[in-house]
């Protein structure tokens, strides 16, 4: 038995540790800048890549390479069987650059030429960095201009909304008037709305031309500067007859043939040729010495070209060119000669990638770049959630533990709450969608009709309102009366308190029903319809749904904390003449605070990691706006948002290129895991340290 249970324990530990280690390893390793090797295939082609993993597929060693250069090769990653390769170790070309771009992912290649500078290749790093600073400025200005355009659009949309509001309020059609701008026969408010739209349109016409011109100018500047790279992809040029030993030594006796192949130099004497050592080699088959050579050919007045010369059986040599590819300077996010970096430079790149990951916007549908909006969305949603669940949970627990008389009803409620914690979270998602988004959200947007209720006729509604007033008055009177009769324990008092409570409940229900059945309320966002404002998944409903989900956690933790308060403290307080609320507020709550806070943090951890309901009630894969930003009113409850957990799901399993997104998925997983772990650890630490503080050091 001891072996069995011990073995199970070991297996459980192993599973947990290996899961953590796997996520940690993958998550930390993803952003590390690796070296880029170029491998020779037996069929003569090349394949280059950062080595992400080595695996054994169908009995063959297989390399999992990040090849990059998606715009040319149509792939980000490739599996290469080592039996295809002439040698399993590749060539670490020292002057190869890794360029992270805003579009198309990474580019790996040899910088050949800069459109704006005649600098020496040795100086490229400095010149390109300088250039990037200038383009960053252009990009900023461009962003500003686009923002101005957006603001003009918003103003026009606002003016249109104004007209729609007047239309709804006055039940008229202003379509014609808005088009022609004529104000004849319109009410003052309609006139105002129409002329406002006219004014906005005129302003837009004036400024738009200027802004568009500015944007065009900036775009032109942006596309002015380009870089030409030579990619590790070969295009055959032809064959030449040359002595291999000469070639190896960097000599070419008769350059005309090569010049002809290149099709550039008229006078082959201007052709200078030199063979470049290939580092560790790796492109030649073992045993066959120097089968391939990488050469640089410079022609006077032009940048050097990189060629691959391969020795053929018949003594001739084939010549292949590295394919050229040009990119915009403005598209570069980050670049570095990846094979030449020292450990500290590599650490620098690693840090800057993490920084971008934590603080930057996503690029390429989230596969590259940052997770900031997702992190921010998760954090804001969690905070709003805890603000909602905090008062609710604590007050409910306080009532159950301190005020309610214990009895079967309370036990049933307590058991139900405990069971609520076990309800699958997707159920909450469905509830949130159908209740919060469609019913409550629809009601806020467009009144009872939008929420799917049939309003009462006006007369019925007003008589119900009268009824409500009467019932409310009776309930009020009864509770005042039974409050006075407090010191007596009589059956009358029991009846009174029961019926008073019942009447209050009834009043509350009636208020809700009157709201639902009102014929006079048409929503706060009627003008925006049919575009929903709150009648869809958004931050507010997501937070409320999650607060329902975490309510049991908070209630249970708070109850536990309250019941841990020694009764002798309560008695001591009462003996001093404190009332119930004073005792709770001055003694019980402070003593229970660590436990309550712990409950909260656990609830936050639970809420932050929850994905299933998020998919239904407001998380989206790519949001252009943040739920909390510097724009009035700062917190935008009606916005959809990005969520870390949802991001993992949508990137890893829903994107077109989920294979390519996998590394990012691991990094995001690591991040989510660490957020949740940090929250949990804080809870544990807080509980321990505060408990110590409250422990008496008796005797």
């Amino acid at each position: 038995m001891v072996w069995l249970s011990g073995g199970m324990f070991a297996i459980a530990c192993l599973m947990i540790v290996s899961l953590l280690a796997y996520v940690l390893w993958q998550g930390l390793w993803t952003l590390w800048p690796r070296t880029y090797s170029i491998y020779g295939r037996k069929d003569g082609t090349l394949v280059g890549g950062e080595l992400y993993a080595k695996a054994s597929l169908e009995g063959q060693d297989t390399l999992y390479l990040r090849t990059g250069n998606y715009d040319v090769s149509n792939q980000h990653f490739a599996y290469v069987s080592s039996s295809e390769l002439v040698e399993p170790s590749g060539w670490l070309a020292p002057d190869l650059w890794l360029v992270e771009r805003k579009e198309w992912g990474n580019l790996y290649g040899f910088p050949k030429q800069l459109s704006w500078s005649q600098a020496d290749p040795e100086d490229f790093v400095r010149v390109v960095q300088q250039g990037m600073r200038q383009t960053a400025k252009i990009d900023r200005e461009l962003g500003q201009a686009k923002n101005e355009l957006k603001r003009i659009d918003e103003q026009i949309a606002d003016a249109r909304l104004g007209i729609r509001r007047v239309e709804l309020a006055e039940k008229i059609d202003l379509q014609k008037a808005a088009e022609t701008g004529s104000l004849e026969g319109l009410s003052p408010s309609a006139q105002k709305a129409v002329s406002n739209l006219g004014l906005r349109n005129r302003q837009a016409d004036e400024t738009m031309v200027e802004i568009n011109a500015r944007i065009a100018g900036l775009e032109a500047q942006r596309s002015e500067r380009t870089l030409v790279f030579e990619l590790p992809i070969l295009d055959p040029l032809g064959t030449i007859a040359a002595d291999w030993t000469d070639l190896r030594a960097g000599r070419l006796r008769d350059p005309t043939a090569l010049a002809e192949l290149l099709g550039t130099a008229k006078d082959s004497s201007e052709l200078s040729f030199n063979a470049e050592p290939m580092g560790d080699g790796g492109l030649s088959e073992p045993g066959v010495e120097d089968q391939r050579l990488v050469c640089k050919v410079s022609i006077a007045g032009e940048p050097a070209r990189r060629l691959m010369i391969r020795r053929l059986e018949d003594g001739r040599s084939s010549v292949e060119a590295f394919r050229e590819h040009s990119i915009l300077l403005a598209d570069i996010v980050r670049f570095f000669p990846t094979n030449r970096l020292g450990i500290f430079q590599r650490l620098g790149v690693y840090a800057s990638r993490w920084w971008e990951f934590l603080s930057g916007d996503p690029r390429e549908a989230g596969m590259e770049g940052g997770f900031f909006p997702a992190i921010w969305g998760t954090v804001v949603m969690t905070i709003v959630m805890s603000l909602a669940v905090m008062p609710f949970g604590v007050l409910a627990a306080l009532y159950m533990r301190e005020y309610a008389k214990s009895g079967w009803l309370l036990s049933v409620i307590r058991i139900s709450i405990n069971n609520l914690a076990g309800v699958p979270s997707i159920v909450y998602g469905v509830f949130g969608l159908s209740f919060f988004c469609y019913i409550v959200g629809g009601y806020i947007d467009g009144g009872p009709i939008k929420a799917g209720f049939e309003p009462w006729p006006s007369a019925v509604w007003f008589s119900a309102l009268g009824g409500l007033a009467i019932v409310g008055l009776i309930a009020f009177a009864i509770s005042i009366f039974s409050g006075h009769a407090q010191s007596r324990r009589s059956p009358l008092r029991t009846v009174l308190s029961w019926s008073g409570g019942f009447l209050w409940l009834f009043t509350l229900g009636l208020i809700v029903w009157l709201l639902v059945k009102s014929p006079h309320f048409h929503g706060f966002y009627e003008a925006q319809l049919p575009n929903p404002t709150f009648g869809k998944g958004c931050l507010l409903w997501a937070a409320l749904t999650l607060s329902l989900l975490t309510l049991p956690v908070v209630i249970v933790a708070t109850e536990e904390a309250l019941s841990a308060v020694p009764n002798s403290l309560r008695e001591g307080s009462y003996a001093c003449g404190a009332g119930k609320w004073q005792t709770i507020h001055r003694i019980v709550l402070p003593y229970a605070r660590p436990g309550i806070i712990t409950g909260f943090i656990l609830a936050m951890a639970r809420g932050a990691g929850e994905v299933a309901p998020m998919m239904l009630v407001g998380a989206i894969p790519l949001a252009t706006e943040l739920p909390l930003d510097g724009e009035f009113p700062f917190l935008h409850g009606s916005r959809s948002f990005m969520h870390l957990g949802f991001q993992i799901y949508s990137l890893g399993f829903q994107s077109q290129n989920s294979e390519a997104a996998k590394p990012m998925v691991f990094t995001a997983t690591l991040l989510l895991l660490s957020i949740v772990t940090v929250l949990n650890q804080t809870a544990i630490w807080l509980r321990a340290s505060l408990r110590k503080r409250f422990q008496s050091s008796q005797f």
Partner: protein
């Protein structure tokens, strides 16, 4: 012995209260007071005075209802739902159990110290001035004045005057109990109720508390429950002997311990029984 047996058999009998006790001016007088936990009766028709400015000790075997009686004086038993009472008590001429009594105001007129020290999880200062705080007192000078006065009264001032902002829980058990006494006298109560205040303390701390009670005599009227006969004889002016929910005999302490009227009392206080 027969009388105690008769009580156990449920027969009625008259408590013996010596005239010297009745002659005193009472701060609390208990009048024909009975108390029930649900069906179970815990106190039977108790009638006894608590003399003003004196220390009255309640003694008796475990479970005889001493704590119950003490907790009835400031109506702490109201917190227990199953409790039902008959009879009444009077505090300085005012009824304690009349329906119109404001329990909160009533409790403010008494101080209570429990068996186990129960300082609140706050600073020493806040512990002492708690009764004033709940009355909404904000004036720092008044609070400080009361704090010093009460701590001096509880013979704790010298030990804690430099660490008033430290947690009340950082004190030793004996200090904690004196802190609780300081808290109990902070509101200048008309009567001080002590429920075995020394039973959780070592002899030295017990000695200090006894000295303290001795000093408080005269200034405060004290009703104290104790299990320790020596303690009762050392510190109290009057002693009441209870048995199974009834008051058996009450007299000046010296009388109870030297020449009680009932032989049962003599048996109990000399340790031959109980």
């Amino acid at each position: 012995m027969n009388r105690l047996k008769a009580i156990a058999d449920g027969q009625t009998f008259e408590s013996v209260i010596h005239q010297e006790v009745l002659d005193r001016d009472p701060v609390v007088s208990i009048r024909d007071f009975s108390l029930f936990y649900n069906r179970k009766q815990a106190l039977y028709n108790i009638t006894m005075p608590v003399a003003k400015g004196m220390v009255t000790a309640l003694v008796g075997p475990s479970g005889c209802g001493k704590s119950t009686l003490l907790r009835s004086v400031n109506r702490m038993n109201d917190l227990i739902e199953s409790v039902r009472i008959e009879g009444d008590m009077v505090l300085n001429g005012e009824s304690i159990f009349a329906p119109s009594v404001d329990v909160i105001a009533l409790r403010k007129r008494m101080g209570m110290v429990f068996q186990k020290p129960n300082p609140f999880p706050m600073s020493i200062f806040e512990n002492v001035v708690y009764p004033l705080r709940i009355d909404g007192e904000r004036d720092k000078t008044i609070l400080m004045q009361v704090c010093e006065q009460s701590l001096r009264g509880a013979a704790l001032w010298e030990e804690v005057k430099d660490r008033l902002s430290e947690s009340g829980l950082s004190l030793s058990g004996g200090q904690q109990q004196r802190l609780c006494i300081a808290r109990a006298i902070a509101s200048d109560p008309e009567v001080l109720l002590l429920d075995e205040p020394c039973s959780a303390l070592d002899p030295i701390a017990t000695g200090k508390i006894e000295d303290l009670i001795d000093r408080l005599r005269g200034e405060y009227s004290i009703l104290i429950v104790t299990h320790n006969m020596q303690q009762a004889s050392r510190i109290s002016d009057h002693t009441a002997f209870m048995y199974l929910g009834r008051l058996v005999e009450m007299a000046e302490t010296s009388t109870i311990f030297t020449r009680p009227r009932l032989s049962e009392t003599e048996d109990y206080v000399t340790g031959r029984f109980g």
